[in-house]
């Protein structure tokens, strides 16, 4: 009954909110031929596989040399995850096409997704995390809220372990003695050695938003006024609304910056997508609004993407 190729035990799917995953920049690549790779978050989650849920937000198909590949965004209360379906996963193409048809007709829905951790690094060392889909399906609101609760608890558990680690030596024995659960020990040692000081309160805010959504107390979310307002559930399951532009986005600000960035960095090959996003993030845009702005700039013909992932100024 066991698949003969399954030589290593399967990696567990970590429950994680988008913000914690987005902000991770530490990578661990296995040294052996079959060793798994991980994205390690500031709170010490070691992620090879994750279970995420949220509102579908953008779906795209691209034609590559080896066939079509797909990408999409799923948005939870704290931010959004980029996920991809590769050309070598044809078994998922029909499902994605079907969802994309729904999406393009203006439908919005909640999606559950299990994916493997992927990333790309920009030349200046920026890391962008994503998930390569293994399984996804449309879910209902109850399933989404139960994921919110589970992920809130998983995040609280990590915040707790992280704060315990601040009082402890960074050795496995000391951390376990300080009450850090054994599945978090490795990741915390690596994370504490890599990331500078940060305020885990940000992650707690996401937990509070998730819990208040799950308990139906949406008022709290309005008071907290996060930079990117999380979609409410009604928005998520309503069938008509297009995603609202973020009100905190300085309007018109992004385009000149995109043009400047491309103009100054293009050495003839175009400028990598990640570098453009990075420049926008550096100047205070959220990653989401940055991605939206680049898409808009391309769609309106301000910049062009002659090769996937590389941008150039449209010649006059």
């Amino acid at each position: 009954m066991q698949e003969p190729t399954r030589r290593f035990t399967r990696q567990t799917a970590v429950r994680i909110f988008a913000q914690e995953y987005q902000e991770a920049s530490l990578l661990e690549e296995g040294s052996g031929e079959y060793d798994p790779s991980f994205v390690i978050t500031k709170l010490g989650a070691k992620i090879n596989r994750a279970l995420v849920c949220g509102v579908i937000d953008r779906m795209e198909r691209r034609e590559g040399d080896s066939g079509p590949n797909y990408s999409g965004h799923v948005r939870d209360p704290t931010g959004s995850y980029l996920f991809t379906v590769a050309s070598f996963q044809p078994e998922m193409h029909p499902d994605f096409e079907e969802l994309m048809a729904r999406f393009e007709s203006g439908d919005r829905f909640l999606l559950a997704l299990v994916g493997k951790a992927r990333w790309f690094e920009t030349d200046d060392g920026g890391v962008f995390t994503s998930l390569r889909a293994e399984e996804f399906t449309v879910i209902d609101r109850e399933c989404y809220t139960s994921w919110l609760v589970g992920t809130a608890e998983a995040t609280l558990r990590r915040i707790d372990a992280h704060s315990a680690s601040l009082e402890s030596d960074l050795t496995p024995a000391a951390l376990e003695a300080a009450g850090v659960p054994s599945d978090l020990v490795d990741g915390l040692i690596l994370a504490r050695g890599h990331y500078g000081e940060f305020d885990p309160e940000n992650y707690r805010l996401g937990v509070l938003q998730a819990l208040s959504m799950a308990t139906g107390r949406t008022a709290v979310m309005e008071e907290s006024e996060p930079a990117v307002p999380p979609p409410t559930l009604d928005e998520a399951v309503s069938h008509t609304q297009e995603p609202q532009p973020s009100p905190s986005d300085p309007p018109g600000d992004a385009l000149p910056l995109i043009l400047d960035t491309i103009r100054s960095q293009d050495a003839g090959e175009g400028v990598e997508y990640g570098n453009v996003v990075h420049a926008l993030v550096q100047s205070g845009h959220s990653r989401e609004s940055a991605e939206d702005a680049i898409d808009d700039a391309r769609d309106q013909g301000e910049v062009m993407e002659p090769r996937f992932g590389y941008f150039q100024i449209v010649p006059e």
């Binding site: 066991q2 567990t12 970590v14 399906t137 139960s146 589970g150 707790d160 819990l211 308990t215």
Partner: protein, 562 residues
């Protein structure tokens, strides 16, 4: 290095080519190549033949070159004595380098043990000696798993070993784990010794010891051994001594250079002629009384291969049957299900024991073996069984006896029956639904053929395969026909109709929409092995807890106020 027949195979080949050459001289030449030039005999063959052909004034012929085609194998047993270009994956157990001076130059060779079938438990592997002629030590760290390409088989005195040559490619597939404990290390605790295989030093109290015999598989006789248990305050471990061990139970022993080997899933201390055992004095060491509790276990703690354990159980059912054994004698075996607060298992008795359901039995010196993937308690002698008049717990209702265990407990424990656990579904296997089984062996047919019985007219069956995951641990979940039908709310025929209507993909997609990212409670049994954990469900149910309630629980547990 001078054993007779060491080079017999190669000498025979040289004799075929040069009938007049002297065998002693040929042997001497091979020895010289091996000792001085560090060239193993099989690689030296051509040079030696050429030398004797030249010496005899023969025209140097091109020897019919042995088949150099690559031979890929999984097990040592598939190898022949003259295989020269072998590819296989092995686990490196030990690596002992030696420096030899060769013509004024320091050269390193190394000896050690490797095991085939490296992704399986060590009791399903075969161990061979190997020699590293190619200074590949960097890639042969003990504990690692490597792929060898271009290794060659060496045979002498009917014993085969593997040569890793300069030209052998060694690819590390898995880095070595914790390095093998060194012989010179300080003594370790039994708990530490149980975690790794390799050499250890121990200070432990001898709890029990009795002579035993091992009958050699090839029928060439039997070996006298000693078996028993050792304990310290960290735990207890069985031992097997290949040499006489005459200390009395209760003696505190210092044991240097014993090896830890796994018998099935249970680590065991091996004492051999290179192990030093001496009486040790430490008045602070845990006493016999303190340690005697150590081998009391509960059903949840049973592991395949355990011996000499003490346990109390409640009998749930009891049957006996007789059969004719291989030697023609009539034998009776009794067995039944037994439970304790930690779980359920089967008890087999090869002796006259006739308890009634509801009786409590105290077993000593019992052993554990696997039956269909679950641990089974075995007693061989009625003296091992005491009927307790004073029950240690209130009688358990066997109908309701599902022991709750979170997924991490299930996955990190041994195989168990009668458990109730839960996790979120994170994968729906694409072969869920209607399958065809081989009518001979019930294995699933692939493309209409059985791996053992060839093309077959399959017998249809229904099963569902998921992966459940709680964010910390995960396990495969298998629903056979009955639980599948109950869970789906339709019978096998109805599933077949749906698959015919929507296609296999459509069926799986609808199943995925129903279960993915949803929490599922499972009652059934677990099978834990090196491949991971599998739960065979008797009953599954999607969790219906309202998110609001779950959220309130989480807020209470973590002291969160909105």
């Amino acid at each position: 290095m001078t054993e007779d027949g060491r080079y017999a195979a190669q000498v025979t080949v040289v004799k075929q080519e040069c009938p007049d050459a002297d065998e002693k001289e040929i042997e001497g030449e091979f020895k010289r190549y091996e000792v001085e030039f560090l060239i193993p005999p099989e690689d030296a063959l051509r040079s030696v033949v050429r030398k004797f052909q030249t010496a005899a004034g023969m025209e140097v012929t091109k020897m019919s070159s042995p088949a150099k085609a690559e031979k890929k194998v999984n097990r040592f047993s598939e190898l022949d004595a003259d295989d020269r270009n072998v590819t296989l994956e092995v686990a490196v157990i030990t690596y002992t380098p030696r420096i030899q001076m060769v013509r004024g130059e320091e050269r390193q060779v190394a000896f050690g043990w490797i095991e085939d079938n490296p992704w399986e438990n060590s009791d399903r592997r075969e161990r061979w000696d190997y020699k590293d002629w190619g200074e590949q030590g960097e890639n042969l760290a003990p504990g690692s798993v490597v792929r060898l390409e271009g290794a060659s088989v060496n045979e002498w005195n009917d014993k085969r070993s593997l040569n890793i040559n300069r030209t052998t490619r060694v690819t590390v597939l898995r880095e070595g784990g914790s390095p093998v404990l060194q012989v010179n290390d300080e003594p370790v605790s039994i708990a530490t010794a149980s975690e790794n295989e390799g050499y250890v030093n121990l200070v432990a109290r001898l709890i029990s010891s009795k002579p035993d015999v091992i009958v050699k598989r090839d029928g060439s006789g039997q070996l006298d051994v000693v078996r028993g248990r050792l304990s310290d305050s960290s735990g207890s471990i069985g031992f097997l001594s290949w040499v006489p061990l005459e200390h009395e139970p209760g003696t505190l022993l210092k044991i240097d250079g014993a090896s830890v080997r796994k018998f099935r899933e249970t680590p065991e201390i091996n004492i051999g002629d290179r192990t030093r055992v001496e009486v040790y004095h430490d008045t602070a060491f845990a006493s016999m009384e303190d340690l005697s509790q150590a081998n009391k276990v509960s059903i949840a703690e049973l592991r395949n291969g355990m011996r000499d354990i003490e346990i109390t159980v409640q009998v749930e059912s009891w049957n006996q049957r007789s059969f004719t054994s291989d030697d023609g004698t009539e034998r009776v075996v009794r067995s039944g299900d037994v439970i304790d607060p930690s779980g359920l298992c089967r008890l087999t008795a090869w002796c006259e024991v006739d308890p009634k359901p509801g009786d409590f039995l105290h077993l000593t010196g019992s052993r554990v073996q696997y039956w269909q993937g679950s641990p089974d308690l075995v007693v061989d002698d009625a003296a091992q069984v005491t009927d307790l008049s004073d029950p240690p717990w209130d009688s358990i209702d066997p109908e309701q006896h599902w022991v709750d265990a979170d997924l991490t407990t299930v996955v990190s424990g041994g195989s168990r029956r009668g458990i109730s656990t839960s996790g979120t579904v994170v994968a729906v296997r694409r072969d869920s639904g209607i399958i065809e089984r081989c009518p001979e062996c019930r294995r699933v047919l692939r493309d209409g053929a059985c791996i053992d019985h060839g093309p077959q007219r399959g017998v249809e069956d229904l099963r569902l395969r998921f992966v459940i995951d709680d964010g910390i641990s995960n396990a495969s979940l298998l629903l056979s026909k009955d639980p599948s039908e109950t869970f789906l709310g339709m019978d096998q025929e109805a599933v077949k109709e749906q698959v015919a209507k929507d296609g296999q993909e459509g069926f799986v997609a609808s199943l995925r929409e129903r279960v993915l990212a949803r929490r599922m409670s499972v009652k059934g049994r677990s099978i834990i092995d090196d491949q991971g954990a599998m739960v065979l469900a008797d009953e599954v149910e999607l969790d219906q807890t309202a998110s609001t309630d779950a959220a309130n629980e989480v807020m209470q547990r973590w002291g969160v106020i909105l």
